[in-house]
């Protein structure tokens, strides 16, 4: 049905809405406060990282073996971006909540939902503004990367871009949580409590339960912090990416469901259940996607290239039975050095912890404890080693394949650097904050009035 007297409002332009949302964030103090706090946080983390990296580099100056262990990703970039992580966890929710919280408090939302935009469009504009705010929050950390390069530090673009991409996803996830919190809360204060309960709660979850056996370990994986770990290790996991994007879209969809005040409560609940079910389905799908890309320069998440090629040819399923408790450090080593790499290299790998409930079959006094059993094409072998140097030959023997000759070259040299990072502190403590204050001051200037608006309206 379309009455001739209905207003033609179907194709409202997006850019005025986006501009309004960006102005809403910029006009608040939360963004500027966060930026000012970020400067010393990032600056101090960066300076500390450069100093420690320099000390390690001094020791490695005459030793290629030591030097090869020096990666700027681990030594400088991850700690520096750690400050961004802290700020995004604790402060970014306040910035993101502003995109909706103030409109709910002042009643502006009742005008907004009557404008010729669909509710998903309104939420998309708010998410785009949140993305803009995150880009602003990236400035101190991005300037640290530039300074590192100026100091002579090595920057491997793929792994650095992957790290930044991980932080972007984390920031959008926190922003989506904050937006959802604002959509279900009547005031910004309540929304902040809800959002921080998510972010800090998951932080605590990570601290308290990581490394615990059984169900507790599973719960710790729900922590938001876990989303960053893989990116910090230089991996781009498609399954994880799919899961995070599903979570962001799901939270945005839930925000849309709860945004319009005119929708009955029952309808909102039904739509929310549908959203949660859809996201859960994507999560289930994502958990089956094993594809990941090792973007690190030192290929730390992969076996040597020759082994990667040889292992990729093992088409039959490999079953690994581990008789170790999950909290056993040997299992942690095995997982990092061998199992995770095998999962990436082989098409079909099954890993089974020989556990019943939360306890290992038998006990640590059991003679079999510590054994890792490998089964391929009906042949089996056992080992207690956690080193790929011993396990890979064992696997080749099981598969009846020769050990591939190591490829020449391609060794990671490491990038030691003794740099004086002291002069960077004035940038983070004075220069950048000053620029932020100037940007804030400029953002508050009154707009120019289009002459045509006051031609008919008349001057006072």
């Amino acid at each position: 049905m379309r009455s001739p007297e209905a207003a033609v409002i179907r194709r409202a332009p997006f850019h005025p809405l986006l501009a309004k949302e960006l102005r809403e964030i910029v006009s608040g103090r939360a963004l500027w406060t966060m930026l000012l706090i970020l400067c010393p946080l990032v600056g101090y983390s960066f300076w500390q990282a450069v100093v420690l990296y320099g000390e390690a580099s001094s020791a490695a100056r005459d030793s290629p073996a030591l030097a090869s262990g020096l990666s700027p990703l681990d030594g400088v970039l991850v700690p520096t971006f750690g400050a961004l992580y802290v700020a995004v966890t604790l402060l970014f929710p306040f910035v993101a909540i502003r995109t909706l919280g103030r409109e709910k408090e002042t009643g502006a939302l009742r005008l907004l939902v009557q404008l010729p935009y669909r509710v998903p469009t309104l939420i998309a504009a708010k998410m785009a503004a949140i993305f803009g705010a995150w880009l602003a929050a990236l400035i101190p950390a991005a300037s640290a990367v530039v300074i590192w390069a100026v100091l002579g530090g090595h920057v491997h673009v793929p792994e650095t871009a992957n790290l930044i991409f991980g932080h972007l996803l984390y920031g959008l996830l926190v922003g989506a949580i904050a937006l959802f919190a604002a959509s279900i809360s009547e005031s910004s204060a309540t929304a902040a409590i809800v959002a921080l309960a998510f972010t800090i709660g998951s932080w605590v979850l990570d601290f308290a339960l990581a490394g615990q056996p059984g169900a507790l370990e599973w719960f710790s994986r729900l922590s938001l912090t876990q989303t960053l770990r893989t990116f910090e290790q230089g991996l781009l996991s498609i399954g994880l990416l799919l899961g995070i994007v599903a979570a962001i879209c799901g939270l945005a969809a839930l925000s849309a469901v709860w945004l319009h005040p005119g929708v009955p409560l029952r309808t909102r609940f039904m739509r929310s259940i549908a959203c949660v079910a859809a996201v859960a389905a994507v999560f289930a799908l994502a958990s089956q996607v094993r594809t990941s890309v090792d973007l690190t320069e030192d290929r730390r998440n992969s076996f040597p290239a020759a082994d990667q090629r040889a292992l990729a040819e093992l088409r039959e399923p490999l079953l690994v039975t581990v008789r170790l408790a999950p909290e056993d450090p040997r299992y942690v080593d095995l997982r990092r050095n061998v199992l995770a790499k095998l999962e990436r290299a082989l098409p079909h790998v099954g890993i089974r912890l020989a556990t019943t409930g939360q306890s290992v079959v038998g006990s640590t006094a059991d003679e079999a404890y510590g054994e890792i059993e490998y089964s391929y094409e009906g042949r089996e072998d056992k080992s207690r080693s956690t080193s790929p140097r011993e396990i890979l030959p064992l696997l080749y023997a099981l598969a009846g394949k020769p050990i591939p000759p190591p490829s020449a070259g391609g060794e990671y040299p490491g990038y030691p650097l003794v740099a004086n990072g002291r002069w960077t502190l004035p940038w983070f403590l004075v220069g950048l904050p000053l620029l932020i204050v100037i940007a804030w001051w400029r953002s508050r200037r009154p707009p120019q009035i289009a002459a045509q608006l006051i031609k008919v309206g008349g001057q006072p």
Partner: protein
């Protein structure tokens, strides 16, 4: 705008096309009944007054019509058909009472946003700014406006919108006598240009001056609907004003 001007047109149902029908709208907040089986019609081009004391249910009724509050029952028919909730905004725009939205924004930017979102020509916006005398405050922040200018800004936003039906909650609140008369003139101009207005008003004198027809509300129920002459006939008070009629019917 005076009463005589308001009565120049004949807004009786026999001569006016029914634009919207409100049928059996009910709303409860927990145990409290806000609206009980509210029904009336809105005719094209008229200024309809929702009249009632504070707490009569005027705001709830307007919000239920605009789809900003879910009604427990009843229907809103636009030209005889029932539009889905998201489509109501194609027909009507509701201006709530006492809003001060986007306080950190400049007045000009709020107006420009509304203009751009609705794709309205600059001429319409300039006319709204001129009619409501907003030019002196365009470079002020919304939060810094006086109460009167704040209300003028809200009215300007409503005038910029293109929907054929305007719902306004207490549009004359916060204005002195002279300003109220100016705003009434603006409202009458809007109606004369073809838009239909439903105004929730608790000041009966204001309502009598500006409205063509009235819906009298008390305790969430409709107590009377019609022109002042029809309401007089209903009460048998031939020379009574709206105040006396209202008191007699409620």
């Amino acid at each position: 705008m005076t009463q005589s001007t308001a009565n120049q047109r004949d807004p009786t149902p026999e001569h006016a096309a029914v634009l919207m029908q409100v049928t059996g709208v009910t709303k409860r907040y927990g145990e409290q009944r806000a609206l009980a089986d509210v029904s009336f019609t809105v005719n094209a081009g008229e200024v309809l007054g929702l009249i009632g004391p504070n707490g009569a249910g005027k705001t709830t009724l307007l919000e239920a019509i605009a789809g900003l509050v879910p009604a427990d029952g009843g229907r809103i028919l636009w030209r005889g058909t029932s539009p889905a909730l998201p489509r109501r905004r194609e027909f009507m725009f509701y201006l709530p009472d006492g809003l001060r939205p986007w306080e950190d924004e400049y007045v000009a930017r709020v107006i420009e946003f509304f203009t751009a979102a609705h794709g309205r020509p600059a001429r319409i916006t300039a006319e709204a700014i001129g009619a409501l005398g907003l030019a002196p405050v365009l470079r002020q922040r919304v939060g810094a406006l006086s109460k009167g200018y704040g209300r003028r800004l809200m009215l300007a936003l409503a005038l910029i919108t293109p929907q054929p039906l305007l719902l306004m909650d207490e549009p004359f609140d916060g204005f002195d006598l002279r300003q109220t008369r100016e705003i009434m003139a603006v409202v009458r101009d809007v109606a004369r240009n073809g838009r239909t207005l439903v105004l929730a008003i608790h000041q009966l004198i204001d309502a009598e001056r500006v409205c063509d027809r009235f819906v009298l509300l008390a305790d969430g129920r409709v107590r009377g609907v019609g022109t002042l002459a029809e309401l007089r006939a209903q009460t048998g008070m031939a020379s009574a004003g709206l105040e006396e009629v209202f008191l007699a019917l409620t």
